[in-house]
């Protein structure tokens, strides 16, 4: 009891100031920030927050849209920040910031019941981890052709979509009324609907669940953003460096290695998340995160066989002499192969009628401010922030039916669920890529200085007289005329006095459409009492974003 042990003299506070603990704090902070920004993406909570910040910081979004559109929209320059940081520090984003990565790491940690020895095996690099580079190449080639598909797998898009379309509405449904202020859509009136939510949710559950089979499965195998950052990190100035005179080749650094970057041998720079668990776990203190470390293999003097090898005068211990593999595990020919696959993928996708210039899906009704369909497919990253913010729930993730695989999860309007509210442009505010361009209310309504251009039309409403109550069943109705928001109303009615089958005379107002006034907002379809297959319904024809899809002679395309 005479002398305290070395460790006890240091306070718990100092001892907790480890870089891995800093990393956990960083992950917690960014994950919370991500959730917070999605939570405030709602009519009553918007207040100047950069709600799509993570999407804008994502350099894959910036680079891929720059390839597809040759422009960098609004806030997408923010991706540069991460790009530069990656060139300095490597893929630290994956270990310190990425909210999806945090989710994977947390779940993997919580449900990890493997023995140390098995963990070490699970965290060795495997050839399948190069799969993500093929994906990245295919996505970038597709972008060059004008089909932006990164959103299918980009982690920020994927998590934003999963939360907006599946997780948040699921939590809303479970909240008791007394806690509805926490809901993602307070004051929405009804619980929101999202078509195809099952698949988005299933994808989230399956990908997160894969952590039990392969730790960080998504990050190591699939993530196209991780792949991009991995390619960039070959130039990074800092990396994990192993001291060959201390390392005993015990492999304990692999026990909690998140990226499977082989710190026990030649470090794979492209795979390292800079999580620093290896620094914690090394019993010999042989690992460090160093600026511009160099390979010291050829500085070894003496014989390794005899055990007399020395490095700068110190005895060499490790038998693994290589210190880094800078580039991803992708020979040039493989990149080429992936590129060819991308070249083929483009026609495979674009031959679908739904997204082809000659094809035209009448139910692919896009939100106001959306650019023309072919440009839209260059820009939309399927993040579904527009769907998240939509106050009437009219915006729905497209299923395979409306847009094929290429248009999957892009926003389309379903007027059986909601309608496009007249004085609302929220979807255009939150769109990070300009697929829906930021527009003002004046522009949407075609008033003020936009009077010449006229209002933005999303489509045109049609009557199905065979199902319309006053037309087909001699029953008064005209809800459609009542709710039509244009002035003068785009729906008018003919007065008629009709003798019914039972001899009763009824006064009817039979609605008709004035197509030049209709803006395609769909409130008539939404409020029509023939709810299963509305007697008045909107289709995309007549939308002002396209010249090919006009209906009336003399109608103009709205430049957006």
């Amino acid at each position: 009891m005479s002398q305290p042990k070395k460790g006890q003299a240091v306070s718990w506070l100092i001892r907790s100031l480890r870089i891995t603990n800093m990393r956990v704090v960083s992950q917690f902070f960014f994950f919370s920030l991500f959730i917070f920004l999605l939570w405030v993406t709602w009519f009553s909570r918007l207040g100047g927050y950069p709600v799509s910040l993570f999407l804008e910081l994502d350099p894959l979004v910036g680079i891929a849209t720059a390839i597809s559109t040759h422009t960098v929209y609004r806030w997408l320059w923010r991706g540069l920040l991460l790009l530069i940081a990656t060139l300095l520090l490597g893929r630290f984003f994956c270990g310190w910031i990425c909210p999806y990565g945090t989710l994977h790491q947390f779940v993997g940690w919580l449900f990890n019941i493997r023995r140390h020895r098995d963990n070490i095996d699970k965290n060795r690099y495997k050839p399948i981890f190069s799969f993500k580079y093929y994906g990245l190449m295919i996505f970038l080639v597709l972008a060059a052709f004008g089909s932006l598909q990164i959103g299918l797998l980009d982690p920020i898009c994927l998590l934003t979509r999963s939360i907006a379309v599946a997780v948040a509405p699921g939590i809303d449904a479970a909240l008791p009324p007394s806690m509805s202020f926490l809901s993602s859509s307070p004051g929405a009136g009804e619980l929101r609907i999202f078509s195809g939510a099952w698949f988005v949710g299933l994808m989230l559950v399956a990908l997160v669940g894969m952590n039990l089979v392969i730790p960080r499965f998504f990050c190591r195998v699939l993530c196209p953003l991780g792949a991009l950052l991995g390619v960039l990190s070959r130039f990074s100035l800092w990396r994990i460096d192993r001291d060959l005179t201390k390392c005993t080749d015990c492999d304990l650094c692999l026990r909690r290695c998140e990226g499977a970057s082989d710190p026990q041998a030649a470090l794979r720079k492209s795979e390292c998340f800079a999580c620093f668990n290896c620094l914690d776990d090394c019993p010999e203190d042989a690992l460090a995160f160093r600026l511009a470390p160099v390979s010291l293999k050829d500085r070894i003097v003496g014989s390794i066989k005899d055990g007399t090898a020395k490095l700068f005068g110190r005895k060499l211990i490790s038998q693994r002499l290589d210190s880094e593999i800078a580039a991803p595990d992708m020979p040039r020919r493989r990149w080429f192969l992936a590129g060819i696959a991308g070249v083929f993928a483009f026609p495979f996708l674009r031959l679908s009628k739904a997204v082809n210039k000659r094809g035209f899906n009448e139910k692919a009704i896009r939100p106001p401010g959306t650019v023309e369909e072919s440009e839209f497919l260059e820009r939309c990253i399927k993040c579904d922030q527009c769907i998240n913010v939509c106050p009437t729930n009219v915006l729905q993730p497209s299923t395979l039916a409306e847009g094929g695989l290429e248009g999957l999860w892009t926003p389309v309007m379903d007027f059986s669920v909601g309608f496009c509210q007249l004085n609302c442009t929220l979807c255009s505010e939150v769109c990070p890529t300009g697929a829906i361009q930021k527009i003002s209310i004046e522009k949407k309504l075609g008033v003020g200085k936009h009077k010449q251009q006229g209002p933005i039309r999303l489509g045109t409403a049609f009557f199905n007289r065979g199902r319309c109550l006053p037309w087909a069943m001699e029953t008064p109705c005209v809800v459609c005329e009542e709710v039509c928001p244009t002035t003068p109303k785009a729906i008018g009615s003919y007065k008629a006095t009709v003798k019914r089958w039972d001899g009763k005379e009824v006064q009817l107002e039979r609605p008709y459409m004035r197509p030049e006034l209709c803006i395609g907002c769909g409130i008539c379809e939404h409020e029509c009492p023939v709810i299963d297959d509305a007697a008045v319904y909107v289709t995309a024809i007549g939308e002002t974003r396209s010249r090919d899809r006009t209906l009336l002679l003399g109608s103009k395309k709205q430049s957006s």
Binding site: F43, S44, P177, S180, P186, G187, A188, G189, E190, L191, P391, T392, G418, F419, Q421, L422, N423, C424, L469, T475, P476, C477, V478, V479, E481, E482, V483, C484, P485, T486, T487, P488, K489, S493, E509, I523, E527, C528, P529, I531
Partner: protein, 357 residues
Amino acid sequence: MAKKPISGEHAPGVEHGDPTLQRLRRRTFIKQAAVIGGASAVAGWAALAPADWPLSLRDPDGERGKPREPLVRLPQGGFAVPPKPGAAALGIARGQQIDKMVRSAVDSIGGIGHYIRSGDVVVLKPNVAFERPAILGATTNPEVLTSLIRLVKEAGAREVRVVDNPIESPQSCFRKSGIERAAVEAGARVYLPSPGEFATLQVPGAKHIARWPFFWRPFADADKVIGVAPVKDHNLCRASMTTKNWYGLLGGRRNQFHQDIHGIITDLALMLKPTFVVLDASRVLFRSGPTGGSLADVRPGHCIAAATDSLALDAFGWDELLRRQDKPKPGYFEQAAAKKLGEPRWRSLSRKDVNIG
């Protein structure tokens, strides 16, 4: 003979005759049999015991498994208070100073103190149907609402609730119409509709809405109800004023109402007997109703009126504010009058006109 060690109950090679082993086996058997027997008995009871026995789940014809909808009723006689002797039936204030006009109109029908007691919970029902700025006349003027809330609070109301179930998305409607802000700043509480807030209301004698989803939560412990509606043209029922205003308290398939809109408005008059109603003609939406959308559809009405009889007040609005007295009145006046729900011949009633200027 040396005793053989027992290495386990199922250890191979252990002699069956060993008494210790047999005891252990018996004990295990009894335990397991008790679990099986107990579980079977509980399951059997739940499934087979007659339905009225405790813990029985038995449902031989499927009736017991059907959901039971909670039914609610508004208080007998509604929220009306007996009229004040000597007070006018119609209080009509003309001018441009909203606050004074509201006070004057209410004073004319007996004063707020007659209607609101100290400690009352008061529900105010403005028309917030559409997400339009108030200036377009499609919704209640927020200034009128503010004055009314202040008035009610001065009379000692414990809580003032502002309630509507709009056609368009509720939060946007409350926000853009300015009603939310007016209500919150004047110290009232806003109730937005959500599925949990509704209950099925029984309206005995109603033609269509004898049982209909009703925005119940704010009404559950309410003492008084005041309607405050703008004067609007309406494409189908030709006018929307204080009686049609109650439409915004209902949920469910409201878009069926248009098949007999006057029958429905008559039902609404039957459903809710308010403490009093206020007709807000600070702006009159005289065409393109009920939505409007252009300033050209709106003209100033320079009038705010109050009454306990919403039918009389609507009739006054039709004649004098929409200026349609030479046209036949919308059908609901006749239907509601036939049911003695009000007096559309407003000129026969006592009135008090005040000109505020």
